[in-house]
């Protein structure tokens, strides 16, 4: 039996791309690609630790992108799903993609290609939801602040949208689950990590970090949300389908129900 290798990388996207580069360069028979905190070695495979190298990562990125823009964005989106075993699935995807001349990423009759395009779609949906469901609250320091808790790691994907839209106000979006956030300081966006001693949901948990005016606007918004509903057309099922319950605690208009 041919020797197989498990590649161990640091958990960053560039690290993953470096692993892909190494696998191609050394023509490895890859059993799995894992992050270093998992450390599950296979019974019949050797481990090889990958050191992240931006140059090598870039070559993989450009190589795939030259093949297809849609494919590289599928790869990045699917990677951010953080799904168990996503790395090896993506590796197979890249292998198949680079192994043919045709637009293999459009082969929706191939399980790997279909699965990755579906995953990328799920992450895209979550990205779009976060662009919708972020609710800023104005702090006393004049920063528009929001907590989020998305299923997938979509912060890197929504940065551009919020920068373009709110170019004249300071804002901070913080992912409570992954413990990092984006802060826009009127010049550029930077990554921040905070020691939050409380999570700021919405106005049922009032906090003195915010102005009173902030709670007035939340009240107005809640009122608006209620008055725009047509009671004789009620359709709760459709409502929860569009606004799944796991997001409710961060939406001020749903505060009474969450």
């Amino acid at each position: 039996m041919e020797k197989s290798t498990t590649l161990i990388y640091d958990g960053s996207f560039n690290g993953f791309l470096t692993a892909v580069f190494t696998a191609f360069e050394e023509r490895l028979n890859v059993a799995d690609i894992q992050t270093n905190n998992k450390g599950q070695s296979g019974l019949f495979s050797e481990n090889e630790t990958i050191f992240t190298n931006v140059e090598k990562a870039k070559r993989v990125w450009n190589g795939v992108r030259n093949k297809s823009h849609a494919a590289i964005s599928n790869i990045y989106f699917a990677y951010l799903s953080e799904m168990e075993g996503i790395e090896i699935l993506l590796f197979r995807y890249i292998q198949k993609l680079m192994g043919t001349k045709s637009n293999k990423h459009l082969d929706f009759s191939d399980d790997t290609m279909l699965r990755i395009s579906q995953l990328a779609r799920s992450v895209g949906r979550e990205k779009h939801r976060m662009e919708a469901f972020v609710r800023f609250q104005l702090t006393k320091d004049d920063i528009y602040f929001a907590n989020i808790e998305p299923d997938f790691n979509v912060l890197p994907l929504i940065s551009k949208h919020f920068r373009n839209r709110y170019a004249d106000q300071q804002w901070l979006i913080y992912d409570v689950k992954r413990k990092y956030g984006l802060f826009y300081n009127l010049k550029g966006v930077e990554l921040v990590s905070l020691n939050l001693n409380e999570i700021h949901f919405n106005k049922i948990h009032k906090s003195d970090a915010f102005l009173n005016e902030e709670y007035d606007y939340q009240t107005l918004w809640n009122d608006y949300f209620k008055s725009t509903n047509i009671k004789s057309r009620i359709n709760k099922k459709l409502h929860t389908q569009h606004v799944p319950k796991r997001y409710w605690k961060y939406l001020s208009e749903k505060k009474e129900t969450a």
């Binding site: 045709s102 637009n103 293999k104 459009l106 082969d107 929706f108 009759s109 191939d110 399980d111 279909l114 779009h128 662009e131 919708a132 469901f133 972020v134 609710r135 800023f136 609250q137 104005l138 528009y144 929001a146 373009n164 839209r165 709110y166 170019a167 004249d168 106000q169 005016e213 007035d216 606007y217 009240t219 107005l220 918004w221 009122d223 608006y224 949300f225 008055s227 725009t228 509903n229 047509i230 009671k231 004789s232 057309r233 009620i234 359709n235 709760k236 099922k237 459709l238 409502h239 389908q241 569009h242 606004v243 939406l251 208009e253």
Partner: protein
């Protein structure tokens, strides 16, 4: 800000505006400029959904619900005994900006009851939009109502500040309009539409020559029809929709099931059910016309003046035209694939791409998300099993209904419910 006063006004004027169904915030091309506020390019965003399942994308309010007209279907008609209120221009601007900054909304949808006269009202609406654009450097989405009867000069100005303009035709037939809104003339509705269409064309042509031509209503215009208020047929509704799409280049026509808001002999009584299923079927038809290559007379004609309630319009068409089927999934062109019940345009796209690699079978179609319970009777693919029996339309319909669950099924079920 006088919080309690604003709160009261907002409740009254949002409540009165909610029967306008358009909440689209897509299709504009307004980029953020000079580090201002907001950006509305491309995709629309629904920031929330009400409990009736409708999208909340824009702050949808009336400037005032005082009105000189007495249209029977309208909740703000002058003879109706409701609380009246009016916003000041600055109040609307402040609300919009503060909601927008907190990421509650994509922009403003401003409509109004007609006070004094159409031009006076239209001027006020334009003043709000102008202030938002010029003083607040606001690049979010603005949807303004064109007030029926407003002058061409004002319609021109409105398009300079708004992303979308709309006039609601409300009653699909001219005879219905005479019955329900005797003060209004059909021309009052179509005149602003025509002006907007002409300006859109003019700006489009000018942009071909001078690239820096300013924008005029970049998200186009739309209109809305109430269904179920008069005894119009589905054919009446869809033929007039087609007319507005063609004649005035509408981006969208909306269909709104009539919600009884008044005691009036001319209208369905208060408490009668909102025709939501019918509304749904009309939207399905609208999509078939705009995206699936159907012509309106294929779906609705003198033999079939109304849509089937128990099956969707595409399936209904297919059952009447079985001579076109079965279709070979591996050979048929896009046009024909789009006509197969159970195939949406997304599936059609996937099939066209995937079949370049291999012949597709049922398993592939299922994984791509095709609704096989409907599609299987109309397709052959790379498989030995397909529907060989020579089934007639009634049998196929029966089998499809038996093996599926429709969300509206209980509304037209013939079977009596045991517990109710």
């Amino acid at each position: 800000m006088n919080f309690e006063r604003i709160r009261e006004k907002l409740n009254i004027l949002a409540d009165a505006a909610k029967y306008d169904v358009s909440c689209a915030s897509s299709g504009s091309t307004r980029k953020n400029s000079k580090n201002g506020l907001g950006n509305s390019t491309g995709m629309g965003i629904c920031h929330s959904y009400t409990e009736d399942g409708r999208c909340v994308s824009l702050l949808k309010i009336l400037l005032t619900n005082y009105c000189i007209y007495d249209c029977a279907y309208c909740v703000t008609r002058k003879s109706n005994d409701v609380k009246r209120a009016a916003f000041k221009i600055q109040e609307v601007v402040d609300l919009t900006i503060n909601f927008y900054r907190r990421n509650y909304i994509e922009g403003l949808f401003l409509s109004s009851g007609i006070f004094k006269n159409p031009d006076y009202t239209m001027e006020r609406l334009i003043a709000v939009a102008k202030k938002l654009r010029e003083e607040e450097n606001f690049n979010g989405y603005i949807h303004l109502k064109s007030i029926p009867g407003a002058s061409d000069e004002l319609m021109y100005q409105a398009g300079l500040y708004a992303d979308r303009l709309s006039v609601n035709i409300e009653v699909p037939t001219i005879s219905g309009l005479k019955l329900l809104a005797p003060d209004k003339k059909h021309e009052d509705f179509t005149k602003p539409m025509l002006k907007v269409k002409n300006e859109l064309l003019r700006y489009k042509n000018e942009r071909k020559i001078i690239k820096s031509t300013p924008k005029y209503a970049p998200a186009g215009q739309s209109t809305q029809m109430i269904v179920g208020a008069t005894n119009e047929t589905d054919k009446d509704v869809m033929y007039s929709a087609t007319f507005y799409y063609k004649k005035y280049h509408m981006k969208r026509v909306y269909y709104s099931g009539y919600v009884p808001v008044a005691k009036d002999d001319r209208l369905p009584s208060i408490g009668s059910q909102v025709p939501m299923l019918r509304e749904n079927r009309l939207y399905q038809t609208d999509w078939l016309l705009r995206f699936y290559g159907f012509a309106v007379n294929e779906i609705l004609n003198n033999d079939h003046p109304n849509l089937d309630m128990d099956v969707d319009p595409k399936l209904s068409w297919a059952l009447r035209n079985l001579q076109h089927f079965p279709v070979d999934i591996n050979k048929a062109d896009k046009h024909m694939l789009a006509r197969v019940p159970g195939l949406g345009m997304l599936s059609v796209g996937k099939i066209l791409k995937a079949r370049q690699f291999r012949k597709l079978n049922w398993e592939h179609l299922k994984k791509m998300g095709v609704a096989l319970n409907r599609a299987q009777y109309f397709l052959v693919c790379d498989s030995k099993s397909w529907e060989r029996r020579d089934l007639d339309a009634e049998r196929i319909k029966g089998m499809i209904l038996q093996n599926s669950k429709g969300k509206f099924r209980k509304q037209y079920s013939q079977q009596l419910a045991l517990f109710n």
